[in-house]
Symmetry: none
Subunit: 231 residues, 4 copies
Amino acid sequence: MDRRAEADQGPAVPGRFPRDPDQTRTRILQAATLEFHRFGLGGARVDRIADTAGVNKRMLYYYFGSKDDLFLAVLEAVYEQIRGEERTLELDRLDPVEAIRQLVSFTWHYYLRHPEFLTLLNSENLHEARHLKRSSHVRSLHSPFVQMLGDVLGRGRAAGVFRDGVDPVQLYISLAGLCYFYLGNRHTLAAIFDRDLMAPDALATRLEHVTGFVLGYLTNPLSAGRVATRP
Amino acid sequence: MDRRAEADQGPAVPGRFPRDPDQTRTRILQAATLEFHRFGLGGARVDRIADTAGVNKRMLYYYFGSKDDLFLAVLEAVYEQIRGEERTLELDRLDPVEAIRQLVSFTWHYYLRHPEFLTLLNSENLHEARHLKRSSHVRSLHSPFVQMLGDVLGRGRAAGVFRDGVDPVQLYISLAGLCYFYLGNRHTLAAIFDRDLMAPDALATRLEHVTGFVLGYLTNPLSAGRVATRP
Amino acid sequence: MDRRAEADQGPAVPGRFPRDPDQTRTRILQAATLEFHRFGLGGARVDRIADTAGVNKRMLYYYFGSKDDLFLAVLEAVYEQIRGEERTLELDRLDPVEAIRQLVSFTWHYYLRHPEFLTLLNSENLHEARHLKRSSHVRSLHSPFVQMLGDVLGRGRAAGVFRDGVDPVQLYISLAGLCYFYLGNRHTLAAIFDRDLMAPDALATRLEHVTGFVLGYLTNPLSAGRVATRP
Amino acid sequence: MDRRAEADQGPAVPGRFPRDPDQTRTRILQAATLEFHRFGLGGARVDRIADTAGVNKRMLYYYFGSKDDLFLAVLEAVYEQIRGEERTLELDRLDPVEAIRQLVSFTWHYYLRHPEFLTLLNSENLHEARHLKRSSHVRSLHSPFVQMLGDVLGRGRAAGVFRDGVDPVQLYISLAGLCYFYLGNRHTLAAIFDRDLMAPDALATRLEHVTGFVLGYLTNPLSAGRVATRP
DNA sequence: CATGAATGAGGTTTCATTCAT
DNA sequence: GATGAATGAAACCTCATTCAT
């Protein structure tokens, strides 16, 4: 993650970075993201975060209050980032099938590019989301997303290509789950199935499978009732 | 849990504590499962495990060697249990659609009944499966399961109800992911979507959704190629 | 406490914060008094003092040099205040018995109104008066007080109502001790004797007891020798 | 404080003291008493206690739970000791005047021999007795003491030597206060009155003063009403 | 006069593990 | 097989103080 992207570009500051609160904050947040990703909340070490960030340990507390508060800040940041990138897809301007395809592809590749997103969620769930529960920010982040997805489904149904009565939240959980479980649990899956799940071929196959899975479900002409429920 | 159930039953031990190695081992394992479930590997406390098990802390080391080895023992035990119960389904004796339905239902309800299975996998993946990698036991546990699932898919395809070219491992990962993500990440999902995912209605709806999803995919008469791939 | 009461009253400072050195100093001193009272020297927090005073932490050091110097400044201030109020009693203008009665009453009520006086002395004694020892100011504050009390005792003896040979310092220590121990140690006393020492009744009773105690001693017609010393 | 009074006296233990839980506990308690005495609760250092006691720091937590709990243990121990020694006076077997004389003398000398008793009370009051409040033990320790003192007063009044209506708790607080304030606040008193309060002469004089003070009050033939209250 | 940012030493507490019996 | 006592490293966090502006 591009640390210090265009730092020190001006002649005013003589090659030092202290006394730049914004940068200090950012550096801590990045270091913390990495640390929590690699070791979880319990395994993360505050000292290591400070070292990685190149700041005094005391600063973590100055800026974030506590390890737990820092963890929440990290969670909020990663949610903000994925939802932000998602918005750039502009799914409302695509035709429904293409929108779903794009969303699946984006989700898949985002998880691939950002393994920390998976592990951080992982950790937070281990702790029963006790950090996120305190955050109204993340909640407000998600209602527009749900609305947008609901709109896509509505248009697809109106066009006669999608099945009826699909809950956007339910669909998103399925879509995310199909990507998440493969990528996030790849270590145990590799161990028990004795396969390399990260080989380029395997990755391409999985994406195709997931896309087919989701669209196969949405476009199945047989009503859900006839197949999914017992006759 | 019933500490010292039928202790001192024999005349061999004159008025001393149980000294029932098997029971001691089992109690430690149960206590460890609970502890790792609730706090993760990093957050689990050896003292607490010993207390819960009602044995001296030293015994953990006597029986299991170390905290990490104990964690592996727990993992092997939970895998053994789920695969064992799975075998009792005798999917090879059911017709393909019913077999899949049964497998989905079993997986769903097993995860519901055994939340520790989810969190333990969770933890192990956080640690990149470094424990399971050392275990050949779990690997041997899974190949018959894959074979059996492949057989069901083969029979379904032969009967003309299932689509072609479905990899059993891929399907299993999808099926598990659909259940796992909803249940295992329910805390963060509840926080961000502001929903109660564990309400009886919600659970029933989700199971139906998952079943429909899997069967919708498997039985979609449109070839995967025509829809999932761009024209 | 009324932060920035009549701030920005002068045209000198163009739209900036108060910059009223005297007020800043006073506010720090008040905040410090409260903090040292509540938490002792060791437990007091420099940050909290600055926050309470509504000034930047750096100002404490600017005005007082260090935490210890600030503590000494607080001590000197409280001594100055009690001795100052004491002077307004004008004991030299009262008849001896009434003077003692007034002194007892004043001491009692002053301690009641100013619990911080007790706790600050408390703290300073815990540290073996290492701050006060450096202060010649407090010493000079007390010699007139001793002289005045000695004068009252002399007048009482001359009038035949007070016993002979009473050391004013000794008497003051006794009088103060009778008030101090009850009020200053009221928490432990309440805990061990299971009583509410601060109930209005209890307070009135105690003051009466102390007054009786002091005057009972001073006015006892039996020579001290006959009773207090073994025959 | 006689550390390791008659340790290692037996031939069984080859000159080591670990693995003697009782002694370890005692050593920690003694070291803690000294540390809290010298530095107060806030200023006391857990490391220093462990070093002084010659035990691993971890043992403090093993035996006492926390610094605060250790402080309470110290408080309970010192109360137990003073009340225990007090009982050996057997005041109920002495004539009333002699009993009071003995109690004053004992209190005075106990405070002199055990300055830590004064400073510990001091510290506990600074913290508003939040430790002692949790201790029912100390409460039970004091009711027999109050009863005994009440008995002495009753006998003195019956014999016609003590005045009427003296509350034993009130008297004890006065007696203790007269000793405590002089000895416990000697550092500030020395600083402000510029006297050496610990010189042998000064100490003897003070004890005589206190004894005279207490007995002067108890035996004053003038009714309290006539002198202590305004005519 | 005044400020927000920064520091490093050291605070209490907890950890997995091992020793001596 | 089983135990209570002991260990040292390291965890999170806080402290009084100072720097750069």
